[in-house]
Amino acid sequence: MPALPLDEAGKYVAGAYVVFVALILVYVAIMSAKLSRIERELGELDELADRRDR
């Protein structure tokens, strides 16, 4: 199959890179949301442990 001319194909290659970066960003965003939840729960447990000590 003949390749598209470079000036026409360039935007598709750039699009592929954008999709890749977006995919990684979405993954990292989901992981960071999970990490925030863990941090919040850890804070709650810390308070719970403090209350038990008193």
């Binding site: 003949p2 390749a3 935007k11 598709y12 592929a16 890179y17 995919l23 993954y27 447990l45 442990a49």
Partner: protein, 199 residues
């Protein structure tokens, strides 16, 4: 990205072998995370591959091309992994059945790869071969560096997700201990493995 995704599936199968051999559920967790991550990469392969194909060949998808269709088959096969896990309530059985699936599907990946190599390529170039492949020499170094980078990204994200899951389970265990609760008799249904941890 496709090569790393396929290697991730095979690694998931190898970890599942370790789970069945040792009975240690931590291996099931490792296998689950590797397959989950490979599935995410596979989605990226299908989307970016189609965009690249449009730019390179002028078509989004070529159904006659064995390389493309075989990857889609592998993706669809692994797309059933999560529903399989979710459909089994008992964590022990879930881990065992998922490991068997991961081993069988993991063995299918290299077989599939070999079958594609033996098939006649219509559009997709053969990049790697013992006779040099279709890649010009100046592109080879860039390709290997990209492969290394993608591999390191996979390992980093795998470690990141493993740490996150482990921390989450330790928190649950700690919460139960602080609240003076007994471990639940009936566990809630889910696709992710449940490993006993000591907080």
């Amino acid at each position: 990205m496709a090569i790393v995704a396929l290697l991730g599936f095979v690694a998931g199968g190898a970890m599942a072998v370790m789970h069945l051999r040792t009975g240690d559920r931590a291996w099931d967790m490792r296998s689950y995370v590797a397959i989950h991550l490979s599935l995410v990469l596979a989605v990226g392969v299908l989307i970016t591959g189609a965009i690249w194909a449009k730019g390179s060949w002028g078509h989004w998808w070529v159904w006659d091309e064995p390389t493309l269709v075989s990857f889609l088959i592998v993706f669809l096969l692994y797309a059933t992994y999560q529903p399989l896990r979710f459909s089994i309530e008992d964590p022990e059985r879930q881990a065992r059945y998922a490991s068997v699936f991961a081993i069988v599907a993991g063995a299918f990946v290299p077989l599939n790869f070999l079958a594609v190599r033996m098939a006649e390529s219509l559009t997709h170039p053969r990049v790697l071969s013992t006779t040099g492949g279709a890649m010009p020499g100046e592109m080879r170094l860039t390709f290997y560096l990209s492969l290394l980078g993608m591999g390191l990204l996979f390992v980093t994200l795998w470690k990141f997700e493993m740490t996150s899951k482990h921390a989450s389970m330790q928190l649950k265990s700690l919460r139960r201990k602080l609240a003076g609760e007994e471990p639940p008799l009936a566990v809630e249904r889910g696709a992710a493995p449940r490993v006993k941890v000591e907080a």
